[in-house]
């Protein structure tokens, strides 16, 4: 067996999309190759498959992924695994497995919503360590329907897209660093397309930069927000990452 390689968190979302048949050909081939060359990675893909089955059985998957999950389970002939997952879920009294495997919205569904909406690094790692998405620091919505959310570096937050005119203020808490202003904020969608960018000074304690977006600039889905500053050499510092899911 090869030496255990830490699987980058971004991979879990990518593997999920592979299993659900949502990856382009080139990325599918990359995953296939890694499975054949790296025993640890292969084991990881199997683990993701198991947890996907469990989530399906327990009704933890978001509604829009249920059909994909059903097709995956049927197409991959995972009937026996599905039965075992149901039986295992039934072992704990009071938690009845979902007969159809198809009712979304139970507790825990949020994890899968984030995972499937935002194939970006960090989210899964955060979730694995128990931080609930959307609880990164806090979300508030004021009477003028301006939404404000704070996110720590490397963590994620989920928001409901507000209806009508409003501003979404995203406070990005900066980690301790030698980087100095101006800071560049870039918001990218899950295809890595730049949605919005801005230069900003930091403010407040703890120091933060704020991205002010209009709701029509964000569609439901996952977003990667990167912030970079100026390093000691005068060159841009590597970007810090934040994750936002718009529901």
């Amino acid at each position: 067996m090869s030496e255990r390689v830490r699987v980058e968190p971004v991979e879990e979302a990518r593997i999920l999309r592979y299993l659900l048949g949502q990856l382009p050909e080139q990325e599918r081939r990359e995953i296939q190759e890694r499975c054949f060359l790296d025993a640890s990675y292969f084991q990881f893909v199997q683990a993701v498959e198991t947890e996907l089955l469990d989530a399906y059985v327990r009704g933890e998957l978001p509604a829009n992924e249920l059909d994909n999950a059903r097709q995956f389970i049927a197409g991959a002939n995972l009937d026996s695994r599905l039965q075992i997952a149901r039986s295992l879920a039934a072992l704990i009294p009071g938690i009845a497995p979902d007969e159809s495997g198809g009712t979304p919205g139970r507790t825990g569904g949020r994890r899968w919503l984030v995972l499937l909406a935002a194939p970006v690094a960090g989210i899964i790692w955060t979730l694995f360590h128990g931080t609930q998405p959307g609880e990164a620091v806090g979300t508030t919505e004021d009477p003028a329907r301006h939404m404000r959310v704070e996110i720590r570096e490397g963590e994620s937050a989920a928001i409901h897209k507000p209806d009508g005119p409003a501003v979404i203020a995203i406070d990005l808490l900066l980690p301790k660093s030698h980087a100095t202003p101006p800071f560049t904020i870039e918001v990218r969608n899950n295809l890595r397309e730049l949605v919005w960018s801005q230069r900003s000074d930091s403010r407040g304690q703890p120091p933060r930069v704020t991205a002010l977006l209009k709701p029509d600039q964000l569609r439901p889905g996952g977003y990667l927000i990167e912030v970079s500053g100026i390093g000691a050499t005068g060159m841009p510092e590597p970007a810090w990452a934040y994750y936002l899911v718009v529901e």
């Binding site: 498959e49 049927a74 991959a76 039986s87």
Partner: protein, 191 residues
């Protein structure tokens, strides 16, 4: 014309297939070669599943048959895993083309998971039996790691990683292996 017809055999002579040649390709030591072959078969099986190719077990045998034929023909293979992956992709493509020709998805199933003939009670009983047969520490890890209630599950995972001195990745790998072992036991159980 059937493949077994003597006329066919004369027209398309098949090279003799030597199973030992495949093992030799994988490792000089027979035992290590066998375990590498077993790993390769598992990966191929899962790849066919993930690519939604019907009847993955027989596709694996088909692939190994092709590989043996190539070896018998003197084909030089530098990296067996990558070579098998290439062969697997050919088989996936053939399955896709065959399915397209029949104008239906290659798995033949799209509406939802097929129902097995065994009842829920049969499966549950088998799961119970296999869990009972597991060493208690392994059973404890498995049940806590895969606890159905999300908050308890996350807390269990943190505690397990701490108490076992494992990183989350190591714990996940260990739990996944235990789960596989349990599922193998269930599949082999009489129901």
């Amino acid at each position: 014309m059937k493949l077994s017809d003597p006329v066919y055999s004369r027209a398309f002579p098949q090279p003799p297939q030597d199973p030992d040649r495949l093992l030799t390709l994988l490792h000089a030591d027979r035992q290590k070669a066998s375990s590498r072959l077993s790993l390769l078969e598992t990966r191929l099986f899962k790849l066919f599943q993930w690519e939604r190719v019907a009847d993955p077990a027989s596709r694996v045998q088909d692939l190994l048959g092709r590989l043996r034929t190539q070896l018998a023909e003197g084909r030089e293979i530098l990296n067996p895993e990558i070579h098998c992956l290439d062969l697997a992709r050919d088989i996936v493509k053939e399955a896709e083309q065959a399915a397209a020709a029949r104008r239906r998805p290659r798995s033949g199933i799209v509406s939802g998971p097929a129902q097995t003939t065994d009842s829920r009670e049969d499966w549950t009983e088998a799961v119970h039996r296999c869990l009972r047969e597991m060493p208690p520490p392994s059973r404890d890890i498995l049940l806590r790691y895969y606890h159905p209630e999300p908050r308890t599950r996350e807390e269990n995972r943190r505690q397990l990683a701490r108490s076992l001195g494992l990183s989350p990745e190591e714990l996940r790998e260990q739990a996944s292996e235990l789960r596989e072992r349990m599922e193998d036991c269930v599949r082999k159980s009489p129901r």
